[in-house]
Symmetry: D2
Subunit: 251 residues, 4 copies
């Protein structure tokens, strides 16, 4: 048998996590609280609700970035299948960019686990950074191609976690990593948006894969909004022309 503990469906209706969808959820719970309930099996506390909602808002729209570009291009060619345009956009959330959230969250859990096994967060973070620098590898969740200083969203997210009484342990660890990495590289390498989001999903106790998945959900809403603009004021054709005009054959 295929076992699930999330949803029970029968002729009387749909029951999600023990609550009747039509009678107890629709019109009575916010989307983000329902999303938390669905994933975790319980209603979030007030603090969890605030932080999870803030994370989803934070990740929804970052302008005409890669997922929005590919979604708008795809919609322009396949207006019969809005599902395809959203899917194409989502496929751009890979290891680079927002996909770094999954990697960064995994790192934060590993460092905290090592600290719990007989070290300290500071020592475990230092060991991690030393190893990365020795291997010549980048650290997920740090640095930004454009900004040398901290992204204002990072401070805002960290402030929210503190206000709502979270332990802020994972925030502390990612800041330790940033400090050690900056020191070893002799330049400022601040926590970036993906790193901050990763730390907050760890504060909320979500697995790294869900941190990325929830970010994708938020981002799909941003894509849907951009597609609504694309309907009325399309840019897909001009995007294609822009690219075509700038391709140089060098064979």
């Amino acid at each position: 048998m295929l076992k699930t503990s999330i949803t029970h469906v029968d002729k009387d209706g749909i029951v999600v996590r023990g609550r009747k969808l039509a009678e107890e959820l629709v019109g009575k719970i916010s989307f983000s609280d329902f999303f938390f309930l669905h994933a975790r099996g319980r209603i979030p506390t007030e603090a969890e609700s605030a932080l999870f909602g803030a994370l989803l808002v934070n990740s929804m729209d970052h302008g005409i970035n890669l997922p929005v570009t590919t979604a708008r291009l795809t919609y322009g060619a396949a207006p019969e299948a809005v599902q395809g345009a959203i899917a194409a956009g989502i496929l751009g959330v890979g290891r680079i960019g927002d996909g770094a959230i999954e990697i960064a969250a995994k790192t934060l859990y590993e460092i905290s686990a090592k600290a719990d096994a007989g070290s300290t967060d500071a020592k475990a973070a230092e060991a991690f950074v030393t190893e990365k620098v020795a291997a010549g590898e980048p650290v997920a969740g740090l640095g930004h191609p454009l900004h040398k200083n901290r992204d204002p969203r990072v401070d805002r997210l960290f402030e929210l976690a503190a206000q709502h009484g979270f332990s802020c342990r994972y925030i502390g660890i990612i800041q330790l990593i940033s400090e050690r990495f900056s020191a070893m590289k002799s330049k400022s390498i601040p926590v970036n948006g993906a790193g901050a989001v990763a730390a907050l999903y760890c504060e909320l106790g979500f697995p790294p894969q869900f941190a990325k998945a929830a970010t994708i959900v938020a981002l799909s809403a941003g894509i849907a909004g951009h597609l609504m603009e694309e309907l009325r004021e399309p840019m897909a054709r001009e995007m294609r022309k822009l690219i075509a005009d700038n391709v140089k054959f060098t064979g």
Copy 2:
């Protein structure tokens, strides 16, 4: 130039619909209100906020249905790319099932436009049904493979629209369609979940394509929740075995 009126990004941060993301939105607006603001360019009224939020909650999870099945199967084979599993799930929202929302919403707008051009909703709905029956075509948003009676979610959504003071014109039209279609087919063909959702997105003034897109966003949250269960208690392998064991070669 590629013109957008949604997001402005520069080195000081991200401004969405005239509001600073970090300072004015994160932690200060609910996800569904931000989604409405992003798509429409204005904060929803209290009634719009309630109805839009209810629609998103309504569409999030309907159990181990087609999108969840393909997402869980895909994740089992490609755990390195949760974006691919969510995308695969979304690709199943086609013309059949929830994709009918786009078609039904388009129909409701067309009927209301014909009525406005010198007829009545009742006459325009009747003309539409007569044409469909003559062509032997089904009507999107009506009927259900299992339920002969009305889905409880349909009544709940219609009730919410009335409570919040919506005109309920599109609800009226889809009910007229259901009545006429049932009469002409001599059997009960009630408004289904997709039809009810379509009518409510029309009440909110969204284009049909967005009705489908927003449903996909809600559904992607349900997929993310199921993938979190798949992480801990996978069913993908057993799903594959179930299918393999039931394939019969008839060549």
Copy 3:
């Protein structure tokens, strides 16, 4: 039971359309002949083999077009999942562009069916064009945004069909449509690449959906080749910069 007549798999190996994959197919049949066999259940004739192979070659690569653009962009962000980049590229084969193949092939079969039911190809084509013009609708498979004159590939494909002894009935019908449409619009609206490909898949007896699907298969090979270039000489980052530099906020 789930019934298939294509493949039989057991512990002794895989048998496709009655032939043992390892022993009778690998190294003994060309890819395009095997693709034909797989889809149709029989080995193609020499003429079918030539025409089907030519169609696949024709559709593989048309430069840095939409599918290649979205695939390269997606691969740049998600190098861990080449499957996602190819999928994103494929999702751009919609109703516009190469997706028109499916619609055009459907039209050609419908016109020939009407002719067979008591008319002639010329009359059925004329009736179709008259209806389209009255409805103000475009005709799939005709016209090109850039070329006013015929695409050289169109002539090449038609010539091949004639050389290999095909009836050329569907080629005749699409040419009739082009002539009638051009006459009614008082300008030259030649058969385009999608229209020619559609006509040839009809000559081969494939359903319209397969005409589009096979074109996607060919195109996925072109995407794979471009991704191999993207590996060594990436353009994804510069594409993103080009788009970002050309976005103008007009809110």
Copy 4:
């Protein structure tokens, strides 16, 4: 500028790798040779042509496996977008299953590079296996959930490489890995289909990512063939019922 050395497109037509598409390629080159030319920039030798074609034939169809299942399910729900069904199928080619080809090819190149840097293939392979066993990690390209003995396709592919005069160095390395791994685990862990395919793409000199990408191209043809059967004799609805009937709620 965006630089490419593959395709040149202008008003006179499309030129791929220096050859005019309509005049010099369509009807004059096989699909698999054109695919090789596109990716590599030169026509394959006779031996390369034979091996590359055999690899594509080998990967096209393995029955109602995961990609075919998700594609058929998706097509059943979204028949308006065959591109979405093929994309959904492709998304299941992840790290597990055929996606192991990329990992295995990378391993083979790394081992041969280490050998070239002052060791032997045997020693480098042994060092690799020892490290994997110490880390408790599996080895991509070895073992099969069902077969304890060698897959007949593996022998067939190796035989072809030898017949066509390839060095068979990478075949040797993956066999060394299998032998060492089997010895250290005290059970037979043969080279599997993915491992054999990986070794042959290395013989041909393709990068690991292309080995996976080309496999996806071949597989997309198999998906297209299955979708053609799905059109006439659909199994999607019954697949959904099979899954729904076997879900047990355990909340």
